[in-house]
Amino acid sequence: MMKGLFKSNMAIMIVFTAVVLTAPIWLAPIGASYPDLLQKFAIFGVFAIGFNILFGLTGYLSFGHAAFLGIGSYTAVWSFKLLSMNVLPAIIFAVIVAGVFSLIIGFISLRRSGIYFSILTLAFAQMSYSLAYSVLTPITNGETGLQLTLKDPRVIDGMVGIPVTDSLPSTNFFGIAMSGYEGFYFCAVFLIIAFYVSLKIFRSPYGMKLRAIKSNQTRMKYTGFNTRPYLLSAFVISGMFAGLAGSLMAVTDPLAGAERMQWTASGEVVLMTILGGMGTLIGPLLGVGIIKYFENIFSALNDAALHEIYNFLPLGLENVMVAVSSPFVGDGWHLTLGALFMIVVIFLPGGIMEGFSKLSRVFGKSGHEATEDVVSESSSKTEGEK
């Protein structure tokens, strides 16, 4: 009965929606419930979910998806500058433009597979980054990043008679300002929609075909099946997700910088996906959570904060613990992250999701098995890959 329940998309969506919308509460105890981090969770969640549709299902590892994120951000900020501070046109244009770019880049890159595909996408992203940083500065404002100014025309806002003040206007959704918790809930809605789309794709015949490409493309081709349109559509969908994520970044914080497009940014989403568990529905989101949490919370722990954390210990032990932990937090947070990658991959090849399914196999009886089925959607993953 449980199994049936979790098999239904409806039930999953209800649980997922509840979990996402209550995030400000259950993340509070670990200090992660302030708006900016919540927004980042949701935005990178959208990014990773989209990336997972390409990478998780087809196995095509793109090292250039950050380019679409950046393109989405630039488009959105230009929409704020030229048209309106309302976020709706910004998001629509961003998704369209990112879609067009991903169609072009995908069309070219998908002529190759394996690492050749990865390098092609990497090359396109690096070219975008280098040009955005330097030659394209009139469009991108280079290193400084594209920002709003008081002199922006904002044509639509002018037409509907929104008054011009001497302070910068803020992004809004028909009057609701997109900062703070409103911004988070706005992004969360998109996260939920994105998750739903991804769930539908995972469980559709289309998703099945994508997985088939991953397990043996040659065989697919021999049966007379043309894989290109499927791959290209998956590429464009994930590119549009990235564009959406980029526009949401601009919505919550109207600035677009070139470093969003650098290969390290593309690498980050790859790491998030693999860390959480590629090809699973929830895995990429876990990866997002962990990496963003490290980047924002661990990096801020200094010795004073550590002393506070270990306050409950006797003084001598407290000092020892602070001395032991301090290389791993603050400016050492990269070290912790690197070590975590290694540990996860060595012991849990399928990412953290595999850890969960292992755990539930140990403890779980029937009920948990059902949950496992939901979260590690493609249990064929480990066999599916080479």
Partner: protein, 446 residues
Amino acid sequence: MSDDNKFSTLSRRGFLKASAAGAAAGAAPMFFVKGANAYVNEPKGGSVTLGFNVPQTGAYADEGADELRAYKLAVKHLNGEGDGGMLNTMKPSSLKGNGVLGKKVAYVTGDTQTKSDAARASAKRMIEKDGALMITGGSSSGVAIAVQGLCQEAGVIFMAGLTHSNDTTGKDRRKHGFCHFFNTEMSGAALAPILEKEFGKDRTAYHLTADYTWGWSQEGSIKKYTEALGWKTKAAVRTPLGAGDFSQYITPVLNSGADVLVLNHYGKDMVNSLTQAVQFGLRDKQVNGKDFQIVVPLFSRLMAQGAGENIKGIYGSTNWNWSLSDEGSKAFVKSFGAEYGFPPSQAAHTCYVQTLLYANACELAGTFNPCGVIEALEGFNFDGMGNGPTEYRAGDHQCFKDVLVVRGNQNPTSQFDLLEVVEVTPRSKVEYSDTMLGGQLGSCNA
């Protein structure tokens, strides 16, 4: 089976109930409500929190670490611990060494990674989660401008750390942002007379410029002032950021007929391009019957360390150097050296001074309200902070003070003695009108 079922439905219902209650109770106080406070993050308890946002990872991590040291020292001094440092030399000063407005100074730190996005995320965390009233730091103009914009929107004060681009207080100036560090315009104005004196009027310059906004800003300023002297500019070549190997940009200089190479690079790029320019024998070269010269308009002692021997005899400008012998510098170097065992860098100095200036402005205004603080800082004249008489100009929030022209020390007496001050260019020589660079401050947001 049915047991499981009951368990999970129960727990889910319980969970939802708990969440609903939590949503009502938990979310509200976390909220960024201005209505409840007079201004963002109004300190209610016995302490006031400052946010130190510096690069802790990436290419500028060492500078960031030095900035953080200075901030911690400033907090100590403000709270009346240690020897007080510049608190004793600052004039006029309303600081009493008992915190700020009677509240103990606390701080939080963050890692900018020298990326605008990461820097803004980290600044937001400090404002939204930790309740920071003022954000300071940065070791890159792009980051400084990005965070400055954020602070304007959030309604807190931003005291810029090391940022050398004209844009910070030029076209991207903000009402809530203040910059103590000098900029490329001042570097150009201060360097030009010295270059004329040392190298003459008849020179042909070749620029290698980091291909991004700061590099262009500096190239523009140096060109403007050297061409006014009568120098010619042979070429200005843009180099990609972080190119590593600059040989393909340096070799064309050899046969270009230019006799001065201007390196508009900073950080690692500067270390690499200078090292390689020297390896290509540019400094031993004679062109047009004159000794070939290299100029690095923005110098930093930490980078001079990276360039080692190659820095000797090379001219540049700097905001401050630890070897200065005024009271303020001496007091600062003494307490910094005693604390950490080596002298502070210019980045550390500007950050330390910015923290004290902010605290002092709060005391002057009698409030932490950013509008009051801005008013107190605008047009504030002070002395005893290592740069002589200094003014925070109201029109663009840029500090105006003497600029140091330095040369890589030929005979260093210690491992820290890398730069030698050849000229203190008076403030009047580097001043420009506050409308020259464009930009609008906007209004106070609280």
